[in-house]
């Protein structure tokens, strides 16, 4: 079980000690060309969560490879590179540029950013194009805002994804309390935080049932208990997003809380509980029949 950050929720070069408290660092999404991102205002607190509309600000793949990646490699933390684009070819070219680089442990395809124009191709086609360009471990980060998450997950698996990341943010909007104008410059943005927890649980469970693939569960995790719930729904790793903003010590805290939850149940590994939400919960585990009702 790996504890990661959600892409875009940590800059390891500015806060290396936070990155080192994770099992792997996931970069902010990299696109073929540099992007300034969206104009301010880019963030807003909302009921039960927050909104962001950063818009994939990043230096582009060339500067990322020349300037950021060598410094990230020195941190001593495995690096997952989040890859984005506006067409399947964008993903393929960036994956090709990353293929063969020992500094890159895995690639996460961001096929679900709510703050930029979506690629015309679907997730499966993007995964297929990326798969043809790299032998790296390939995760597809999916949106929960689709009619059938399981179908998208299965299509990504059949296209060659080694794993899935669920969920990305979903689109939301907040109004200024005085003027009733949208707070964000782009009006709507990606909604994250505690409100995503039940959405993430449902999406992870559906994707796990459909594919059985390794899954990074992400969405509103604030405690070890929340991480355990994602694992029970089928996550094999857990990523922290919004909680990192308020609490950069959260990786260490969540890790400790998850270990305590696991130990209290008499389990040797949190992954012993993987997917048990589908099979009768804790009572399905040896020695835990007392949780039958």
């Amino acid at each position: 079980m790996l504890l990661l950050n959600a892409s875009g929720c940590l800059d390891a070069l500015v806060a290396p000690e936070v990155a080192r408290s994770l099992d792997a660092f996931v970069t902010k999404t990299v696109t073929p060309l540099p992007r300034q991102g969206n104009p301010p205002v880019r963030i807003a607190e909302a009921d039960h969560g927050m909104l962001n509309s950063i818009g994939l600000a990043n230096p582009g793949i060339d500067r990322f490879l020349a300037e950021a990646l060598p410094r990230l490699a020195e941190l001593g933390v495995p690096v997952w590179v989040s890859v984005g684009g506006f067409a399947a070819g964008d993903y393929a070219s960036t994956c090709a540029a990353l293929d063969g680089l020992n500094e890159v442990s895995a690639v996460e395809l961001n096929v679900s950013c709510p703050n930029v124009e979506s690629p015309a191709e679907g997730a499966a086609e993007i995964v297929r194009a990326a798969r043809a360009s790299t032998s790296k471990t390939l995760y597809a980060k999916l949106s929960p805002a689709v009619p059938d998450v399981a179908a998208v997950a299965l299509a990504a698996a059949e296209a060659g994804a080694d794993g899935l990341t669920l969920v990305n943010t979903i689109r939301g909007l907040a109004l200024d309390e005085r003027t009733l104008r949208p707070v964000l410059s782009t009006a709507s943005g990606g909604y994250s935080g505690p409100a995503l927890r039940p959405i993430a649980l449902a999406a992870v469970l559906a994707a796990y049932r459909a594919t059985g693939l390794p899954i990074v569960g992400v969405g509103g995790v604030e405690t070890g208990r929340h991480a355990l719930e994602l694992i029970a729904c089928g996550a094999s790793s857990v990523a922290l997003g919004t909680v990192l903003f308020a609490d950069p010590g959260s990786p260490e805290r969540v890790r400790g809380e998850l270990a305590a939850e696991t130990a209290a149940l008499g389990l040797s590994n949190p992954l012993d509980a993987r997917g048990i939400a589908l099979s009768g919960g804790l009572a399905s585990l040896p020695g835990l029949a007392k949780y039958a009702d």
Binding site: D11, A15, P40, R42, E45, I54, T242, P248, G249
Partner: protein, 223 residues
């Protein structure tokens, strides 16, 4: 990098503002102009606040209760805990020959601490009303103006200006004093470079204010 839950030592009204005093814990007050992220009780995101005063064993922040987060901070009771991360950002350069502090509204917040570090240099504060101007008590030697008079009408030339206040004031100060140091504010979710929310235009590019600032040289800003 660790958020520390600091106990509220006390809080006093200063005009429409609230001076929130927290027990310091193990946190360093940092350099004048640096800021801290304060987690309001019951809210998801912390709010950036520059340090106003550093009494012995305490950190004091001037809060303008204008939204749900700042209202929750202003309502914090003695004994309650507030999560605090910091000090963050760069702070003012203090190696200046003829400092002049220029503050507008809640922009007075960092100057009591700055003033102590600089030996009480001259200061000009502007407020929108006499009620708001009660905050000038935090900087007793300052000249004070109330709208429709603006701080820029009193600014002498030849000084090294350190300014904090609303954007129109900072732009006006920058036109009069191109070498001024300006303390900006922007919505921030984290304060330590993680969220990319606090983008401002610096030298024509969008940069994170929490990483590059919050104090910027006037010449580099899109003024």
């Amino acid at each position: 990098m660790r958020r520390e839950p600091l106990r509220v030592a006390g809080a006093e009204d200063v005009g429409p503002y609230r001076l929130l005093r927290l027990e310091r814990g193990s946190l360093d007050p940092g350099a004048p102009g640096q800021f801290f992220m304060l987690s309001p009780p019951g809210r998801l995101l912390p709010r950036p606040m520059s340090l106003c005063l550093a009494p012995r064993g305490e950190l004091a922040f001037l809060i303008d209760p204008i939204g749900p987060g700042t209202r929750a901070l202003a309502a914090a009771e003695p004994g309650e805990r507030v999560g605090v991360l910091g000090p963050l950002g760069n702070g003012f350069r203090l190696d200046v020959a003829q400092p002049l502090l220029v503050g507008g509204g809640i922009g007075v917040a960092p100057f009591p601490y700055v003033s102590r570090a600089l030996g009480s240099p001259p200061a000009i504060l502007g407020f929108r009303s006499e009620w708001h101007a009660e905050a000038a008590a935090l900087l007793p030697h300052a000249e004070v103006v109330v709208e429709p008079t603006y701080v820029t009408e009193l600014m002498p030339s030849g000084h090294d200006v350190l300014a904090c206040g609303p954007e129109p004031m900072l732009r006006a100060v920058a036109r009069l004093a191109p070498s001024a140091q300006l303390a900006w504010e922007a919505p921030m979710a984290c304060g330590y470079g993680a969220c990319y929310g606090c983008a401002v235009e610096i030298d024509g590019r969008l940069e994170r204010l929490c990483v590059q600032g919050p104090v910027l040289e006037a010449a580099t800003c899109s003024c």
